[in-house]
Symmetry: C2
């Protein structure tokens, strides 16, 4: 759609420039000089940004400071911190408010159970969700207790998102891909290809809800061409400091392009 | 000194280029093409980087993880974390090792008392120190108990640095300027100009020991032209998330230029 929008304009600029050159004009017509209207940024001024997810988002955040937007301890030591640090220092006058509500070990059902408190009440303008690795992992680790499947993951994730867009009309969504790296103690070959189906569901959700999609799996695989995977996440799941920074940069890249 | 070194080369390149143009040469002589030798970076491959200081460096670091280089929790949620995150993700294959040994409330005497354990034993290749705000502040807050002056600060700081370069020959030093911002509950007009003398001592130490100097006071003052000081450090001392990120970017700028 953007392409259709932009092509006529580019065409117009070309013709105008050609005409100007043909007439050896010394001044460029005002229309040709005018820049295309500046795109509204995905994260607007005064936005409240909520980061939701599991331990990767949690990253040791201090729950006592959970109500203080932008508090560094509250943000933990993961990609949420890195994203907030970057955007707040780049845009100090835009009154951005970051909240982290990641919870170690959580899956879609726990998000759903606490969604009123941990999402709706916060009234985010932008919601970033990274959920899914435990939805698969716990079928392996706690198989008897947890009966989830990729089908329940999809069903529950969709229900959560439907509820979100209904209760918070106009909300902007980012869906972060759950990833699993074949290194360290947690992830082994038995995870695949089943785990890939969870990744595919997260992409499907992004498409269905018009959300931006942050492709963490391919990002880490690309990074591993030069640097071993376990540098980015020693156990294959939880990112190291540089792994979290890489995730933040990818997130920001997607947001800037969005 | 750098200027003297570089000028003759620039002069040489100019003449060579002129000669080449004069002769309408199609190939550029190899000498003119050769780039100046790449400068050795201040932080080399395999470097151990130690960040030392008070609460601003500490930033809630998890002491239980103090022996694990680069562990995000160990690094706290301040500028040390931001610096490490950035350099480790930018240079994943350089085997950099970051340690944070900042301690809330500390002054030069406490650094000196624990220096064997908290610096010498770590054998850093690069040492960044940010100390001084408590050396002044505690003369106000705990005047009866703490008898420090700007003279003892200078004397003890110099002794610490002398010991450091003696015991760790070849170490590279960064001295970070202590700062105090006139906003929030801690800093008021009575701090000045006395506190400025502590800042001046830190600069003097940098000059005496050939250290890089990170000018945090002027950095924050510059940032406050567009954004109120208390956005960067609510109480005038402890940086907010964006304040810490600003400090990290300044630190990296100084290191890259060094």
């Amino acid at each position: 759609m953007n392409q259709n929008k932009h092509n006529p304009r580019r065409q117009f600029l070309k013709s105008t420039a050609a005409a100007a050159i043909g007439a050896a004009a010394l001044t460029i017509p005002a229309q040709a000089k005018a820049k295309p209207a500046k795109k509204e940024p995905f994260i607007r001024k005064n936005a409240t940004i909520l980061l939701q997810g599991d331990s990767i988002t949690d990253a040791g955040r201090n729950r006592k400071r959970g109500d203080i937007a932008n508090d560094p301890r509250h943000l933990g030591t993961g990609y949420a911190f890195n994203i907030a640090a970057r955007l707040l220092s780049d845009r100090p006058n835009d009154n951005l408010k970051f909240f982290n509500r990641g919870n170690s070990g959580w899956k879609v059902p726990q998000l759903a159970d606490s969604w009123d408190r941990n999402c709706i009440a916060i009234k985010p303008d932008v919601l970033s969700i990274m959920i899914g690795v435990n939805d698969y992992w716990h079928t392996v680790a706690f198989g008897r207790k947890f009966k989830g499947t990729v089908k329940t993951y999809e069903r529950d994730y969709r229900a959560l998102l439907k509820r979100t867009v209904k209760e918070l009309p106009g909300i902007k969504l980012l869906i972060c891909e759950p990833y699993a790296l074949r290194c360290g103690k947690h992830v082994n070959d038995s995870w695949f290809p089943t785990f890939d189906q969870y990744r595919a569901v997260s992409k499907k959700m992004a498409d269905e809800f018009g959300a931006l999609f942050v492709p963490f799996q391919s990002m880490f695989e690309k990074a591993s061409k030069d640097t071993p995977l376990d540098f980015w996440a020693r156990d294959g799941i939880h990112p190291s400091g540089p792994g979290a920074q890489l995730m933040a940069l990818e997130w920001l890249k997607v947001v800037n392009a969005g």
